[in-house]
């Protein structure tokens, strides 16, 4: 039974994110927009490049979708509503999202196109920038919760949400999460302005539909991770648990998609430099601060 509820929640959530993304990119809020474009993609030809690495070209969209869905599977939406409550859930979320990079390298390298290849290797540079800034804030969250299990982490935020408990960690995780989901302004691998679609340039038809579905689920997964780790998951005074989760996730997703488009696209050199020279010192500092607070505050 929970499997069915989870599947419906995943579908609705992905569709909600798709509507937000359609609104952010085309400026018009059309609820039917993503459905129409999905059907249209289903109807278009799916062109195979002439001498591609066919294995890479075919597995990239599927791997992206599988990684995004698995990362969502370890995040709780309501007290009992979680696909796989692992004891090291926070780690599993990060492990699943490491394969987004593998999918993008495959998508970039496979079709033997210049834009795609440059986009793929750029995303590896982007990973080197954001990887540490995803891991260290999660460690700080685990320090407070004394466990890596996502359900425990949400339960530990009973009194005070983590955004208030460790705001620096939240800021870093928010930015690194957007970089992980390559949402603008971190859309280096699929930049429209300088790579004309980058890694997804060569995908048309149903393969492109799977690729975009993977991206939507990825944004949904990053938004729900932010909710679970920092905004107290399903905790909330009046509404039932799942309603709070849904509201928070959609709010975070809309902030990511709409806020992100107000800033010009970043350069990979600047992203690397800022994350290694400012981000990592701040993340280490965040761990120390949380360490002190955990000892001082009795709860």
């Amino acid at each position: 039974m929970t499997g069915l509820v989870l599947a419906v929640a995943l579908g609705l959530g992905a569709y909600g994110v798709a509507v937000l993304e359609h609104w952010a990119s085309t400026g018009r809020f059309r609820v039917a927009g993503p459905a129409i474009s999905a059907l249209a993609l289903l109807g278009r030809e799916s062109i195979l490049p002439r001498k591609p690495d066919r294995l890479f070209f075919e597995t990239a969209p599927v791997l992206l979708l599988v990684a995004a869905v698995l990362s969502l599977a370890v995040l709780p939406l309501a007290p009992g509503l979680i696909a796989a409550d692992l004891a090291t859930g926070a780690l599993a979320f990060n492990a699943a999202l490491a394969y987004v990079l593998v999918a993008l390298i495959m998508a970039g390298w496979g079709p033997d196109g210049a834009y795609g290849m440059i986009g793929g290797w750029r995303f590896l540079g982007q990973l080197i920038a954001y990887a540490m800034l995803v891991v260290m804030p999660i460690t700080a969250v685990a320090m407070r919760a004394e466990s890596l299990s996502t359900v425990q982490i949400v339960a530990s935020q009973e009194g005070l949400w983590n955004i208030a408990y460790q705001p620096l960690g939240f800021a870093l995780f928010a930015l690194a999460g957007m970089a992980m989901a390559f949402a603008p302004p971190f859309d280096l691998p699929t930049a429209a302005g300088d790579l004309a679609g980058g890694v997804e340039a060569e995908y048309t038809g149903v393969r492109r539909l799977v690729f975009r579905l993977g991206r939507m689920v990825l944004i949904l997964s990053v938004a729900s991770a932010m909710t679970v780790f920092y905004l107290g998951g399903w905790l909330g005074p009046w509404l039932p648990g799942w309603a709070w989760s849904a509201a928070k996730i959609l709010a975070v997703a809309s902030a990511m998609l709409l806020g992100g488009r107000m800033v010009p696209r970043l350069r990979e050199a600047a992203l690397l430099e800022w994350s290694w020279k400012l981000g990592i010192p701040l993340a280490l500092a965040n761990i120390f601060i949380v360490g002190l607070i955990v000892l001082v505050v009795p709860t």
């Binding site: 696909a83 390298w109 196109g113 590896l124 540490m132 060569e202 690397l272 290694w276 761990i287």
Partner: protein, 120 residues
């Protein structure tokens, strides 16, 4: 439920998604066929055909960061178990990890001073 069943659920989820995607491909194939035409399958570069293979030795300019990342990444493996038992162990744990993090941070500072943290 026991951990093994959770792993089985995750594995089944992955296989299910692959099955869903394959059925989507089959549906698309039923809707229409691809028609190979000249020039259609050449990687598209904004209105021109780029026929030459681009699988060349790509010069990634971030190898300074990559080297430091490879070593720095291991810190994460040690930090997770520490984080779980941190509250129980108290200040000693903080000092332990403080030493560990300071050591790694020295490596980062050294890389920074030697110009590894820049676009080579």
């Amino acid at each position: 439920m026991s951990e093994l069943t959770q792993y089985a659920i995750l594995f089944a989820l992955a296989v299910g998604i692959v099955g869903l995607v394959l059925s989507l491909y089959a549906l698309a194939r039923a809707i229409g066929r691809n028609k190979p035409e000249p020039g259609k399958d050449v990687p598209a570069t904004a209105g021109q055909l780029s026929r030459d293979p681009v699988w060349v030795r790509y010069h990634a300019r971030y190898y300074g960061y990559a080297l430091l990342f490879l070593a720095f990444d291991m810190e994460m493996a040690f930090m997770y178990p520490w984080a779980v038992v941190y509250r129980q162990e108290g200040l000693v744990a903080l000092l332990d990890m403080g030493v560990f993090l300071a050591i790694l941070f020295l490596g980062l500072l050294y890389g920074w001073s030697q110009g590894a943290l820049r676009r080579q």
